[in-house]
């Protein structure tokens, strides 16, 4: 885990661009929720979106895996490219896209099934395992990567809803990892958790950076500072500032960013 104090010493480690968004606009009916947002999200790095409630950061996150398609009144325009391919193109099946861009939600939402079946859900749908042994292997590997294997290995058949909140959230992260996504979107994954569970999930996010591109929406600026390499600040539907996390928190260019991180707006 990073220490807030060393923020300024950190270097921008961003290498390749995984997701490139250009001039994205989102309308909910008459409400213009996202206004001309352009952002580059790096591969094998954690990008955090911060900003006051209702600023559009979750909405923008849901554009990246086209979850907004499930809302009738929502309209998205602009380009979002994943690995150089436009995800809003007609040739892209949103269902296939969501297998590549996993999502973890604000409230832990394990299915009312066993822990095993929760993890096996995605691999079964996408046919990732040829037989039971392979599926067992995927489940174990995902639970290990979700840093929850040791806690649940003896009760894989117990219902996932019976775990504690923090365990449930790590289960949901493991479930998202099981489909081998390239990008992991996290919508305030720690807002329903206590500080200890939060610390575990943050530790996990930092490890996930080795294999995935992670985008996290958070209300906690300390959390953004601890886990992310790059930070975007959203305000009233605009993306105000985007840059290396240390620089955003220590030397913001825009006065709105400065007001927010010092607690004057929000």
């Amino acid at each position: 885990m990073y220490d807030d104090i060393r923020l300024a010493e950190r270097t921008d480690t961003m290498t390749d661009v995984k997701i490139a968004a250009r001039n994205v606009n989102v309308h909910y009916g008459d409400n213009h929720a996202i206004k001309d947002v352009s952002v580059d999200i790096g591969d094998r790095a954690v990008t955090s979106f911060i900003g006051p409630s209702g600023c559009g950061k979750s909405t923008f996150l849901r554009c990246i895996n086209r979850m907004n398609d499930t809302i009738d009144i929502c309209r998205v325009t602009g380009d979002i490219e994943l690995n150089g391919q436009d995800i809003n193109d007609k040739s892209v099946d949103p269902v296939q896209l969501r297998a590549k861009v996993g999502m973890v939600f604000q409230k832990p939402n394990p299915f009312p099934k066993s822990i095993y079946d929760n993890i096996a859900y995605g691999p079964r749908i996408h046919g990732l395992a040829r037989n039971k042994a392979e599926l067992d292997e995927i489940v174990e590997k995902s639970l290990r990567r979700g840093a929850i294997w040791d806690e649940v290995k003896d009760r894989l058949n117990a219902p996932g809803t019976g775990l504690s909140g923090g365990q449930q959230q790590r289960l949901c992260i493991a479930r998202a990892i099981a489909t081998e996504p390239e990008v992991l979107l996290m919508d305030e994954p720690c807002s329903a958790l206590d500080p200890i569970a939060t610390a575990k999930v943050e530790e996990l996010i930092d490890e996930l950076r080795q294999n995935f591109s992670v985008v996290i929406v958070t209300h906690s600026m300390q959390q953004a500072a601890r886990v992310s390499q790059r930070t975007a600040f959203f305000h009233l539907g605009h993306m105000v500032e985007f840059g290396e996390t240390g620089q955003i928190f220590t030397n913001p260019q825009d006065e709105r960013t400065e007001s927010y991180i010092t607690g004057r707006i929000g």
């Binding site: 269902v95 939600f105 939402n109 299915f111 099934k113 859900y121 995605g122 749908i125 809803t161 479930r175």
Partner: protein, 490 residues
């Protein structure tokens, strides 16, 4: 004073009590509500409740008990010789009461003076005609002994009524004064009123429960009566149902039970898939506009009286099935002899149950949290995979509960069976045969001129008991499943 007048008087006292109490409360607090423990209307309600409830309770108990007590004492005056041959003493007592009421009516309508009525012995020969002119029908000429009994009945009733009036009014007035004097700024009127409300709620709940208990007890007693006259082994395991009021009936429940279960099975086979799929469409796929129209439209089906479904079975579905499966039918199979059949009743009953299943399932599917759907969609599942593998399994216990509730309605249904399935009790596998159910047979055993104490009539209670146990079991099962489901997300 009659009971209804007394009731009105008490009600007026209570209403006056409300306003007086409210006024008095304000007066004791020098017009400042903030000095009172409760709002002024609570003090008013306190006076009203206290003057109303005990008085009405005494009035009700007294009015029920008085005729019983007086009747008992008058009955002892009647000698065995006064009872006509082959008659019961209760018939003589009915005569006494009719005569006593008739005399009171004659006095109140001005046809007789009070003195005349008290000395009715003097014109005992004309009495029947004079009362007859007032609409009081007496069985025969009035006998002196009956008249004497009626006179003592009248006088006792008059005394009783007087005591009742005095007692009830004194109680209402006394309680009024007591409550009125209790009023003071720190008297907790709100609490006493709320206690009174709680008593009312308990009363309503006990009425509901006691009625159920009463119905069940009456079923049980009559069933025991039946089993004294007819061996229970033959009833439970007999395969023939041929009641005959001349005696030598065979009252085996199995053909009826088979018919009930067979028809219910066909009905559920129709209603469950259609209702469930309709519910899935309405809750998951339909746009809000379609849903706003389609859901109420489907629920209209639930408002159609079952007798209309019965007519539909008799006039439309039966002939239609006969044209398809009967002799010279379109399919040329000749499976069906007449329009009434298990299939006819089952199909129509299934249609009746569709809104039941779909409406309950729709609510249950809607109550599955959106987070479940998001979680599944976020993993790259399609909408239909999400419904199949997440939403329906999560809703399953609730859906099973809905199906069991539908099943107990199917088992209890009568009119559709009478019109659609016929009246022949039969053990047969062919769904195009006429069969009948327990409910339809209960109706046919109790309508008609049969002796009510014969096993042929009493069997209806045994049938009802069987049905009650079956539906009760299903309902308990359904409730348990639904309760288990509720715990899942909390």
């Amino acid at each position: 004073m009659s009971a209804s007048t007394l009731f009105l008087v008490i009600a007026v006292i209570a209403i006056v009590g409300f306003f007086v109490g409210r006024h008095r409360a304000l007066a004791t607090a020098d017009g400042s509500i903030r000095r009172l423990h409760s709002l002024p209307q609570y003090y008013g309600s306190h006076v009203a409740v206290l003057s109303f409830a005990p008085a009405v309770l005494v009035l009700a108990v007294w009015s029920i008990a008085q005729p019983l007590v007086i009747g008992g004492s008058v009955q002892s005056q009647i000698l065995p010789s006064d009872i006509p041959e082959g008659r019961d003493i209760s018939l003589v007592m009915t005569e006494v009461r009719t005569l006593a009421d008739g005399l009171s009516l004659a006095v109140s309508s001005g046809d007789m003076t009070a003195a005349e009525a008290d000395n009715a012995q003097t014109f005992i020969g004309d009495l029947r005609d004079r009362l007859g002119a007032l609409g009081v029908a007496l069985g025969g000429d009035v006998r002196p002994s009956v008249l004497a009994a009626a006179q003592s009945y009248r006088s006792a009733t008059a005394t009783g009524d007087l005591i009742r009036t005095v007692l009830v009014l004194a109680l209402a007035g006394g309680a009024f004064l007591f409550a009125f004097r209790q009023i003071a700024p720190d008297f907790r009127a709100r609490n006493t009123v709320e206690r009174a409300v709680r008593v009312i709620l308990i009363g309503c709940a006990s009425i509901a429960i006691l009625t159920t208990v009463g119905i069940v007890l009456s079923l049980i007693f009559n069933t025991i009566q039946f089993f004294k006259l007819y061996p229970w082994q033959d009833f439970l395991f007999g395969t023939t149902w041929s009641p005959s009021f001349q005696g030598a009936s065979e009252l085996g429940i199995l053909p009826l039970l088979w018919g009930t279960l067979y028809i219910s099975f066909v009905a559920l086979a129709v209603a469950v898939p259609i209702g469930l799929f309709a519910a899935v469409y309405l809750s998951e796929y339909a746009t809000p506009r379609v849903r706003a129209i389609a859901k109420p439209a489907l629920e209209v089906l639930a408002g159609i009286p079952t007798i209309v479904y019965g007519l539909f079975a008799l006039l439309t579905v039966g002939p239609f099935l006969l044209a398809a499966f009967g002799e010279d039918g379109v399919l040329g199979v000749n499976w069906m002899q007449g329009g009434t059949a298990v299939m006819t009743a089952g199909l129509v009953m299934g249609i009746m149950l569709i809104p039941f299943v779909s409406s309950l399932s729709d609510d249950i599917i809607n109550s599955v949290p959106q987070a479940m759907r998001d979680g599944s969609l976020g993993l790259g599942a399609t909408k239909s995979e999400t419904i199949k593998t997440v939403v329906l399994p999560a809703a399953l216990p609730g859906i099973v509960g809905a199906i069991l509730l539908a099943a107990s309605r199917a088992i209890g249904e009568t009119m559709i069976v009478v019109f659609g399935a016929g009246a022949a009790a039969r053990l047969d596998l062919n769904p195009f045969e006429a069969m009948t159910t327990v409910t339809a047979k209960i109706v046919s055993q109790l309508t008609g001129d049969g002796d009510f104490n014969s096993p042929e009539a009493l069997v209806a209670f045994a049938l009802g008991m069987t049905l009650f146990i079956m539906t009760l079991g299903l309902n308990v099962l359904a409730l348990r499943i639904v309760r288990k489901y509720r715990e899942q997300y909390e």
